[in-house]
Amino acid sequence: MLTYIIRKSFMAVPILIGIATITFLLNFVFVPGDPVRIAMGNHGDPATIEMIREEMGLNDPLYIQYGRFVGNIFRGDLGISYTTRRPVFEMIMERLPATAMLAVSSMVIAILLGVTAGIISAIKPNSILDYLFMTGAMIGVSMPVYWLGLILIVIFAVNLNVLPVGGYGTFAHLVLPAIALGVRQAAHIARMTRSSMLEVIDKDYIKTARAKGLSEKVVVIKHALRNALIPVITVIGTQLGYLLGGTVLTEVTFSWPGVGRMAIDAVNRRDFPLIQGTVLFLAAIFIVVNLLVDLSYGVLDPRIRYD
């Protein structure tokens, strides 16, 4: 088990370096012109610009910059923001709690809603509830998160006036963004849970469980769901990529002060180290969580541990 964890973790490192390389290339090689000048706009005087360039090592040869960049990443150093002159990592850490709160609560909503709907659909396939849930899920996966966000704002904040339009601070602020972000994931999870449950419920070991005299509830929850969840976990993992992208859109929609919104502000201010840092950071989270998902297989599916 331990070697499995270690092997899997080592496999993530080159992927992370690959992503770092791509962001490095994007921001330091493909950006036309001098990024510092672009970031400072027209009002930067040449001496200051030169000073910043020197300070940030932008005058060194590219391969040295690249080596330093990758090396720094593994020490948690994502560079200095052009606009605030503060360490990017520090800025991300300030914004991280808001993003984490949004992502985690939407995931909780998604799992609760999705797994429940999926089980109910699978137990009574082609029933009215099944059609209702699956139509809802199909619409859910087809809806842009920010549009759902806008709809929720119009209904609950503008018309009913029960929840805030946007912002951050209280539980009330969290409700709409978490739902907007969670629905799409819930829809994916519901669809996967249903098909996975339908597949599992026909297996021989379910017949064995019934033949033991177990109640249908125990058969479904203990014997079927536990097996059906294994592929669902994969979906949750891959959906996390969409979730992180969705976080950016949701944060902008609801003026939620998280990492995603900071990234978009950085793009608008052309603060390249900050863009690069946030993108890299979010991508790293994606990789780490997928690693955790991989490892959770070992817990859920005993067959994997010994492979």
Binding site: I15, I19, P32, G33, P144, S195, G241, L244, V252, V267
Partner: protein
Amino acid sequence: MSSVNTEIEENINLPEAKVESPWKDAWRRLKKNKMAMIGLVIMVAVVIVAVFAPFIAPHDPFYSPVMEDGRTELSLIGPTWNYPFGTDRLGRDLFSRVVYGTRISLMVGIITQMIALSIGIPLGALAGYYGGWVDEIISYLINVFLAFPFILFAIAIMSVFQDPGIDKVFIALGIISWPGLARIVRGQVMALKEEEYIEAAKSLGANDARIIFLHVIPNCLAPIIVTVTLGVAGAILAEAGLSFLGLGAQPPTPSWGLMLSTGRAYLRSNPYMMWFPGLAIMITILGLNLFGDGLRDVLDPKMKD
């Protein structure tokens, strides 16, 4: 000599004989799939709207009566018979803009997938065919690209451009959409490489590119079609998202995402501005998803992800 080879090659060209009846069979089963047929109808309708946009749209989508003729009374009016989806601040007809937006979205979907195909197929074929270090490098690239969250990747690329726009969106989404296709082609090539008829074709001196396009591509057409259909949906969603964030299409392009971004400022006074572009996105994506899912079930029940 070469004509003899071609003849023999045609005689041993088993997969083509195999391919035909499964397609007919697939279509028959697809016709029975209600959801997929609804999806197909939606897709056809969307294409019709895009093609015949000038005949469907009652107004010029770019014409601003407020700016050009000073008719401020046409600014921000709610849905009426003349302006079914209402107008924006510049007095432009939102219905016409949504209709023309169909063209933008379809273009995004098609062009990005064409770019993705023209990168993904050759790379996948190279990796599968030559194996070794070529495969190592390409597989590594595929893994890195797939590990990069899609929208974030798109944002990272769009941030490089000083003047974003819809043309840049094509490029950005195109160059990040290929890994799925490459993976499919790679796997298929590897599986087929050892098959007898490929060996035979090789021994007859058919060149590699010919083998790949004549024997390999037809064999993985099914998963490619499914991936491309769902890829079109993904690209349309991503473009709308980028434009919503201000990083994609720029005014006055009638992009649905951009219209939603504008509508966001009028949620209190003119909520209709955000209903229709969003609905347009949802219906289009729904059609593609329904059709893509149905296609996947019919063509390759094992392919789930």
